[in-house]
Structure formats: C-alpha cells, structure tokens
Amino acid sequence: MNNSLLVVVLASGIAYGTPLLYAALGELLAERSGVLNLGVEGMMLVGAVMGFWAVQRIHAATTLALLGAIGVAALAGALMALIHAFLVVTLRANQIVSGLALTIFAGVAGLSSYLGNDLNLARAPARHQFQEIFPKSFQNWPVVGPILFGQSALVYASWGCVVLVALYLTRTRMGLNVRAVGESPAAADAMCVNVTRYRYAHTLVGGGFAGVGGATFSLSITPQWIAGLTQGAGWIAIALVIFAFWRPTLCLVGAYFFGAFTALPFALQGHGVTVAPELFQSLPYVMTILALVLVSSRAARLRFGAPAALGIPYVREEG
C-alpha cells in the first residue's frame, strides 16, 4: 500500500516541495513589503554552498552541526539579499535588473561556484545530513507513515514557518505595517511606518529563507555540493508566490503540488509507465501563467492580487 503511486508521489512531493516552500515564503515576505527579488536562484545557491561548507567544517554533534549550517545558510542568503535591498531601496535601482544581476552574480556561473570551487567542496558527501526523525516503525504505517512520518526535520520546521509567517502577516501590528508598506508606502509613511527599514528587513529575511531553501538541497535532498544543484528551483519559487496569490498557507499547498510534478515522472517510471518528464516539469510554469491571468482582472486584483506597490521604489518627495 505504501508503494502505491499516490503515496510515493505525495511523500516525495513533500520532500521536493520543501526547498520551494522555504524560498517562496521568503520571496512572499519581500514582495509583501513591495520588493520584487528575482535573485532567489542565486541566493539559494549561495545558501546551499555555505550551508554545506559549514556542515563540513563544524566539528560538533550532528544536531548542532546541522543547526549551525542552517544558520550559516540563512546568513549567506540574507547577505546576498542585502545587495539587492541596498540597490533597490536605498539607490532606487530597477528591481528586475537588480534581481537578475543578483542571480548572475551569485548563480551557477558566479559566486556559488566560485566558493564551491575555492573551498574545495565538490565530490565529498555531506558529513551530516537531515534524516527522517521518526523511527522506522512509524514510517511503516499505511499511507500516513511515509507521507507524514517519513520526512526530515526541515519539512516539519517549514510547517512551523508557514504558520508563523501567516500569523505574523495577519495577526500582528508589524504584519499589518508590512502589508501597508507593500500596498501604499506613502500612506504607511504618513502613519510613521519606516518604509525603508521595513523593506530592508523583509528583503533580508526573504534572503535568509532562500538560503535555507538552498541548504535543503545540499544537506537533505542531494545531499552534497554540485554546482547549480537547485536547477531552477528559485524561479519556480517566484512562480509559486504568484500561484499562491501571496498567501503563506497557499504556498504550502502549491509547493507540494509543484513538488509532486517533479516526483511524478520518476514514480511513474517505477510503475513501468514512461512519460516525457518535460510534460510534468513544464506544468508549474504553465499553471502559474494561467493563475496570473486569472488574477489580472481589476476585481480579482483587488481581492487576491499582488501588493499594489510591488516593484516600485518609494521616494518620499515623489510618493
């Protein structure tokens, strides 16, 4: 029963969806504050390489080493996001070009590979990696075993993050302020909300989440360092934020949905059905376009749409 197609696809869909979920939550926070960051792929890769480096260098018990590695990955991602934040918030640069520049700077042909090469990280397995935390007997339970109990700590932590981000955005004063900054920075400014500080903070936290998402690859899914190991997950994460209409809980559903598409061709192959994997891999992109068209009408935009000030620099005198 646990080998049935649905269970296998759901279980591995959750595993593959987790890095997407982390990165998308981060991007969601940045976009809710009005900053579009197309550098997710780059930040994920730098997070992946630095997290992997940390786990190889920290000589401590597995739990401590992994915790340290996640911290380092988040810090590295946030540092990358700092470049973007400085350029687009302080220097009012074009957010699209700056985000793409960040991906080129940090991505496959850039800093992440430079660091991976320089720190000599390739061709070695991770000294510690995230493993299933529940005992085997739990995992053998029908259906829920592999899906709910066969996952690593990163998966359970991501559920916590979804709840936290959702509560933060809808139930706290700061969350209200963030949404105000993203919708109408001039109005937020008039209410004494520091627009610059909010945008910086959320872009940086967003980068941290992306870094953790990258480390999910190098410490759990792959688990080693290969240049460009995220293989475009950062772009899917950006798509996911739109697909989820900028809502954290929908991000979770969407991430597993998209993760399942990655897992489906492999699972089908296991059942002797050969389908071109490209068909499923392209579905997240096509569905994002459709979702975007759906929310483009005026009425839907007011109800579900993107933060109104997304991508627009805020200058007090010109606001």
Binding site: L87, E278, Y285, I289, E317
Partner: protein, 368 residues
C-alpha cells in the same frame, strides 16, 4: 545629505557613470580575489589576454558577443517602453527551433534562400513566443515580467523534449554519435551562414546582422512616429492614451519586435556557430539573461548595446577559455554581476543629485 532629482541629465554623466562603474566593479572583484588568495593583477591580466589579445581571441570574442548583441537589442527594444520582456532567453530558443526546422526542410535549396528563410523563421519563432506575454499584457493587463520569465522554462523544456525524449524531426536518430548521446540533426551545408575574415578577425554573418539591427532599431526609435509613440507610452502610458495613441497595439508590436530580434539571435546560433539544434549548449549559456544585463549597462541605447555585448562577450570568452586549470571558477559571473550592481548603483547619480549640507532649513510654518 540630501538626494534630489535632477531636472536635466547632463550628457557626460551617462558616459562617465558606466565607465566609473566598471572600474569600481574591478575594485570589488580585487577584494574578492585577495580575500580568497588569488593574485588579482595576474588574474585580470590573464582574463584580458584571453579575451582580446592572444591569438584568435578577438574572433572568439565576436562569437561570444553575437548572441549577446541580439538579446541585448531585444531587451533594449522592449525596456525602452518600460515593457519588461525578460523572455529573451526563451525567444532565442524558439528562434533556434524554427530556424533549424526551416534549414532542414529546405535542404538542397540555394544557400542564400535557405539563410534568408532561417532569418525569417527565427524572427517569426521569437515573435510568436513573445506575442503570448504581449497579448496577455495588452488585453488582460497581466504582468509581462513573470509570464515571459515562465515561458523561458517552458521553451527550454520543449527543446529538451525535442532532442532528448522524443523522436522528433529535429533529432538525429541515425548518426554514430547520436547512438552515444542524443543530439540534433546536423544542418545541411547550405544552411551555414557565411563569414568574412579581415586581418585574421573572423566576422560571422550574425554579428553583421546584429550591427545592422542596431542601426535599424536606432533609426526606428529616433526617427519615426512609431519610435516617438513608444517613448511617450514608456514615459507615461496615460499621456499616450489621452493623445490617442493605440497603447495595446503598441505593446503587442514592441513585444513581437523584441521577440523577433531575440529569435534571429537563435537562428544565428544554428546557422553561424552550432549547425544543429543544441539544447545543452543553448540552455546553459544564459544568453537571454545576460542580454538584459547588456541592455541595462548600455542604458538601452542600441549602439552601446553592441559595444557592451562585445566587452561582456570578451569576458565570457575568457572565462570559457581559462576554464579549469588554476583559474578561479565562476569569476566571470561574479565580475558581470559586480559590473551590473555598480552600474545600477551609479544610475542614481545620473538621475539624482546628491547634496551635502549640514544646515537644515527649517520647514516653513503651515499657513492655516
């Protein structure tokens, strides 16, 4: 310190800022190199040699620069109207697919006809793909940034499918090499684009085409009503509409123009350099994204695009030549990113004036 918008942008600044940003970028790169124990001067020297000075380097640089010039022009054409087509990557693939298909279909026809047909097919392929985000933007006001970005991945997967996971018309299923690793059919000789050698510098047809397109684009934007309307709509879509300009049509036209230019770049990849549909080579090169960098550095000026494409092409060529050995991997991307960061940051000084004054003039009392 205060930052205020300039009323006029002095001309010399728009030239000085990119130059200074390149210098600053190299300073940052030096810091990165020193921090990781690489000798900076020696590394830059090797980079420069491999890009421009050593034997045959210049020709290779032109090869690397040609696709960047196409995608750069494509991005510049759209960004001028604040239409953020970041689908140059996918539009280039689309042009490569249609270009290669036409070349295979027309095998045996006279060479100029095949080449001409490839250019047209490439342009059409790119334009059709770009029309999708164009139509969505014009009629459903869907954000073109994300839709064009998503289509890049869709087309990349289509190319993969055509060569790796199907027995399509474009895939070589007979050759010896094809039995080892899937690859595209080799295009017929008639589909090889001509190239000219001047003093040892090989100039492929694609490179000349890119320069011609730059001139044409400049003429279109600087000297025609179409170009004027594009600029007005770019500055203020509302003003354009009030003046009776057809914004929707213009969005669609500019999107297709941008896609067509990128598509010709794809056909040039088939005809000039690769002589087959080469999925790995095309999708790993990131021509489309780098093209946006080129356009941004050139401040969307077509002539500057050609120049910047040549410089960045040199950098890429050097990175490719020096790959492996003891040359720091990934340095080229780091340098490109840094140059762009600095140019973006420098843009502030073109648009704004930074004033340092200690004394704050007290705000006048509001009159009640």
């Amino acid at each position: 310190m205060r930052v205020e918008r300039r009323l006029e942008q002095p001309r010399w600044l728009s030239l000085a800022v990119p130059l200074v940003s390149i210098v600053v970028a190299f300073v940052f790169a030096t810091i990165v190199l020193v921090a990781t124990h690489h000798p900076p001067l020696h590394t830059f020297r090797r980079l420069f040699d491999a890009a421009f000075l050593s034997n045959g380097a210049l020709s290779e640089t032109v090869v690397a620069a040609t696709p960047l010039a196409f995608t750069g022009l494509a991005a510049a054409a759209a960004f001028r109207m604040r239409l953020f087509n970041i689908g140059g990557e996918g539009q280039l693939y689309a042009g490569a697919i249609t270009g290669a298909t036409v070349a295979l279909l027309l095998a045996g026809a006279p060479s100029p006809i095949v080449i001409g047909a490839m250019v047209i097919a490439g342009a059409a392929g790119g334009a059709v793909l770009a029309a999708i985000p164009g139509i969505l933007r014009a009629f459903f006001s869907t954000n073109e940034i994300i839709t064009s970005l998503m289509l890049n991945y869709v087309v990349a997967l289509i190319i993969d499918y055509l060569i790796f996971d199907s027995h399509s018309y474009l895939r070589d299923t007979k050759g010896f090499q094809a039995s080892v690793f899937p690859q595209g059919k080799i295009l017929p000789n008639e589909a090889s684009w001509s190239s000219w050698t001047i003093h040892g510098l090989a100039l492929p047809l694609g490179a000349l085409l890119a320069v011609l397109l730059a001139v044409a684009l400049w003429g279109l934007y600087a000297g025609t009503r179409f170009g004027f309307e594009v600029k007005v709509i770019g500055d203020s879509a509302r003003a354009g509409r009030y003046a009776g300009m057809r914004t929707r049509r213009k969005i669609l036209a500019v999107m297709c123009l941008s896609g067509a230019i990128a598509g010709i770049g794809g056909a040039s990849q088939d005809g000039d350099f690769r002589h087959q549909l080469d999925p790995r080579g095309l999708t790993q090169a990131n021509y489309g994204y780098t093209g946006i960098v080129v356009a941004a550095l050139a401040r969307y000026n077509p002539f500057a695009v050609v120049l910047v494409a040549f410089l960045l092409g040199g950098l890429q060529n050097a990175g490719f030549t020096l790959q492996g050995a003891d040359f720091p991997n990934g340095l080229v991307g780091v340098l490109q990113g840094l140059i762009l960061f600095c140019a973006l940051g420098g843009e502030l000084f073109v648009r704004y004036r930074v004033r340092f004054d200690r004394r704050r003039t007290p705000a006048p009392e509001p009159v009640s």
